[in-house]
Symmetry: C2
Subunit: 351 residues, 2 copies
């Protein structure tokens, strides 16, 4: 029996609603597989936990997670309760950083049965490889002076090591797909970090002569994701640019509620973290209508990560079949509940 130790953090808002259903789906996959099981420990770390304990997780929180094989995260944050920078930097970003999850991988593709908000989706299929540990998200900076003279300085820090790691991953991935990598840059306006990024990209590209490359400024690239997304295969981007591009790629799928992601640890020292792209959506929390597909598709990425490609494919096909049948939550124009969608996926898996 192959056991995968999962640390489950439902988090806030719809994360809490969706997680039990996603876990149920994963257990169904394991059952069908026969030789696979998920050993789960669930952690209540969230804004509510913060209000009670004054912190997002216990002092030894990371130690508790460290020995699991993967973290399965719902969504964290609820600015009504706790400021975003606390929630995120004490939990989400803390895990990403401390567990050296230096890459964030997000997949987006046109799904039959979901209406895209763009007129020409043309079966796009994009994976964005986002540098997840540095860049524009740095803790270096500060403010100075008070009143009208106040200034703020924020450093963006790019290392060749982390940039290269993201780029090499993108090139390797492109080999298994359409042999094309696009780099997101802005070297025409941002004159130190981005020319550096371009230079590293050109260096890495030399090792992959068989892969076609392009380099687009982030402003143009954001527009191309709307006008001609099907011309992209793998896109590699800095932390901020990857963040922006993946909200766009999720949007053009038709709902951010279906987009999956993994925060990948590539050195094998710590677990990776699997989380959907969507947030905790406090506005719809409690109504039972949150879309569970983002979390479930994230589970599909988890199966792939542990080499269970057959099960991953079965799960993806089941998700697609359920959507094609029209069993959809309101964000996709349907009227099904979170539970009904999960039920349908479970039933489909068993078919």
């Amino acid at each position: 029996m192959k056991k995968i130790k999962l640390s489950v953090i439902p988090g806030d808002g719809v994360g809490k609603e969706i997680m039990p259903h996603a876990v149920r789906v994963m257990d169904t996959v394991a059952e069908i597989h026969g030789g696979l099981s998920f050993d789960k420990v669930t952690y209540p770390w969230s804004c509510e936990y913060y209000l009670e304990h004054g912190k997002m997780m216990p002092e030894d929180g990371l130690d508790q997670l460290k020995d699991s094989d993967a973290v399965f995260l719902g969504a964290v944050g609820n600015p009504q309760l706790v400021p975003d920078h606390v929630t995120l930097w004490e939990l989400l970003i803390k895990i990403r950083r401390e567990f050296e999850q230096t890459l964030n991988i997000r997949h987006a593709k046109q799904i039959q049965g979901i209406q895209s908000p763009i007129t020409n989706p043309n079966n796009f299929d994009i994976i964005v490889v986002r540098e997840n540990s540095e860049g524009e998200y740095s803790e270096i900076g500060g403010t100075m002076h008070k009143g009208p003279d106040e200034i703020a300085v924020q450093n963006a820090v790019f290392t060749r090591k982390a940039s290269e790691t993201a780029m090499r991953y993108a090139f390797e991935l492109a080999k298994t797909r359409k042999n094309h990598v696009t780099s997101a840059t802005k070297s025409n306006g941002i004159v130190y970090s981005m020319p550096f990024w371009d230079r590293v990209f050109n260096d890495v590209a030399k090792d992959y002569p068989e892969i076609e490359t392009a380099s687009n400024h982030i402003d143009a690239l954001a527009a191309y994701f709307i006008t001609r997304p099907s011309s992209f295969d793998v896109v590699v981007a800095s932390n901020l640019f990857g963040d922006i591009l993946t909200d766009i790629s999720a949007a053009i799928m038709g709902s951010i509620g279906i987009a999956p992601s993994v925060n990948l640890n590539v050195n094998g020292k710590y677990p990776s973290m699997f989380e959907p792209v969507h947030g905790s959506a406090p506005d719809i929390y409690g109504k039972g209508i949150a879309n569970p597909i983002g979390q479930i598709w994230t589970g599909k990425m988890l199966l792939d990560h542990f080499g269970e490609h057959e099960m991953a494919d079965l799960l993806m096909k089941s998700i697609e079949a359920v959507i094609a049948e029209g069993i959809k939550t309101p964000d996709l124009g349907g009227s099904a509940s979170t539970e009904e969608v999960a039920d349908a996926i479970v039933a489909q898996l068993r078919r």
Copy 2:
């Protein structure tokens, strides 16, 4: 006779093709007005100029422009000839900075007769007020170490003064429109500059209790521009975020070829610069098919800037009438040439 002294810089690529036609349209407007004329001096500064002279403009270039009332710019840059950072920092960005054009204003709205690439444009009408002098586009930073240890640091610098200037402009503008201002932020991930930006925004908002406000993270906002652009009125953003959002807002109009912009000097010490959002598009240069509407709509903003609102409205109506008639360049799905579109606008103006 009201004379407006115009420094005309056609620049590179399609800028050179479009500019004579845009100037012709402006002269027609002046003629119809009767009491208005444009005194024009044309400057050949461009990549070709660079190849000949080793610089993008003469040493005293800015002095030559300084006493004009406005700069009318086509498009600059052609990375095949001169690296982008040279072209831009020695001409476009240099003028923006030296002439203290601290704001960049870009208008986007749904135009009847143009197919939007999104399914729900719903008559969106957005003005983005972009801080144009600092932020992520700073000249402070550098690289260090060689080989695998190389790192790059890029500073983003935000002052209360420049942030406030952009925000106050946005609020004043909203008063003349739908009384709504959205701030683009990313304070959940970028922890010094963006919380500062939010703080300044909240302070300024207090002076405008009648204006409704919202604050959206740039990733979500980029997605909302695709899924529900009609829910925005005025959006205020940092230099980089404004850059990204305005390429998206141009894209959802149906072509970046029609989007106008002004780099605004608000202290009255230097001329403002009017330039379309599109670039020099070397790939279509020379074919006579570049869309002149971005440049001409930019001319409409110029008329407004000098208080010629009646003429500005006439010009905008003429542009819209010509598009509605189907006289469109290929980027809009038509088959008209640059010249034919400009001819049609001139004829429409005279009607």
